[in-house]
Symmetry: C2
Amino acid sequence: MKTIRLLIAYDGTTFHGWQIQPNTPTIQGEIEYCLSIIHNRHITLHGAGRTDAGVHANGMVAHFHSEKTMDPGAFKAGLNSMLPESIRILQASEESPSFHARFSVTSKTYVYSIYNGEILLPQKRLYTVHIRKQLDFDTMKQCLKELVGTHDFASFETAGSRDPLFPSRKGSTRTIHEAYICEIGGDFHSFTFTGDGFLRHMVRNIVGTVLEVGLGSRTVDDFKAALTARKRSAAGPTSPARGLTLERIVY
Amino acid sequence: MKTIRLLIAYDGTTFHGWQIQPNTPTIQGEIEYCLSIIHNRHITLHGAGRTDAGVHANGMVAHFHSEKTMDPGAFKAGLNSMLPESIRILQASEESPSFHARFSVTSKTYVYSIYNGEILLPQKRLYTVHIRKQLDFDTMKQCLKELVGTHDFASFETAGSRDPLFPSRKGSTRTIHEAYICEIGGDFHSFTFTGDGFLRHMVRNIVGTVLEVGLGSRTVDDFKAALTARKRSAAGPTSPARGLTLERIVY
């Protein structure tokens, strides 16, 4: 039995998230369906984590077990010929049997894209959140600095989010290695977060709160207080899914 | 009565083209609907031309007549608040009564986007055509040079395309001022065409034929022969709509 690792990109717009669900299009569901046809039996695909409905990926990782003797590149070609163009297999490679897409993760990087100009071009609207009012990027950058390090991120965790099948050993404590804002040009900006793991909606809840600071309805001190409060009600709203892309996973 | 000129961007993916049709979403239909609500009477929007189903625009121009005393900027803001995010009004300005979005055109620029790499990222798929086989860009560039100047482009005109309401004075003769290929990076390439006017499907029929040269199934001499043959059957297929964007119109 071989362990095959896939690097996957998808446009999350039309999917109800990564995780398979009955009677609704999901990324895991689409790929498992194609793998099961190839193997003529049910194949379970183990993802590095779940992404919510509408969230995109350029670097999701998943693995499955196969008795097939075919080259990993043949899985890539076969899957890409069967999958919708909104899901692409970027790489397929054989791993040692000890590899697990979820449990072997070292770090993940998410990028959140916003547009802070007057009119967002239609071709960008599915992948970018439009904030019309001028944002104060200096105060937002100060907020992101506060996040770096190991913290209890309970204030940024959406309730009811723990998976009973995978009780977390870490509670709501996570380590963020990097958090910064880049100006892409043309009024586009990206928020990049790299950490050892992220709670449910954590990036979107952080961005929603940081944007309140950028809009002046919350100060940097309010943001620090929200982080240390360790309760969801202390932080701001969940920003829209379409701005978020799972960019990279390191093992 | 004022003449108001609009500069319009749209994602053509979900529209059945520019021109209004009953019971189907079109760009003209969406904007006329909003203008008619604003004016409390039917408003006709005159476009610079029609784009086909699935074709995008960053620079469509249209005009309408209004008895409203409001500032043109208020039309822009009002329309953008009512229209779907797939259509954006980039500018609204008052013109002299002699301005006509269709008859006053000096030149139009279309851009056709292709990806010539292995895997097209999902977020680009709605705006780019994927050619997997390696293209010979040198021979394609030679073809584009042949197009510059005044020619009878009947070989690149889709049949049954003349509008009986607007019989053309020029037949199928048009002047192309510029035609070139740019490498955008990351295996993305764009074909840019500027001319005094374009026949129905003309850019897509040219690109479809040029791609046959790039793939080696037709020579540059074959391409020249197709241009001078003045019959549609001499040229290649119509390339997909999603690669095409109406980029700019000059008056």
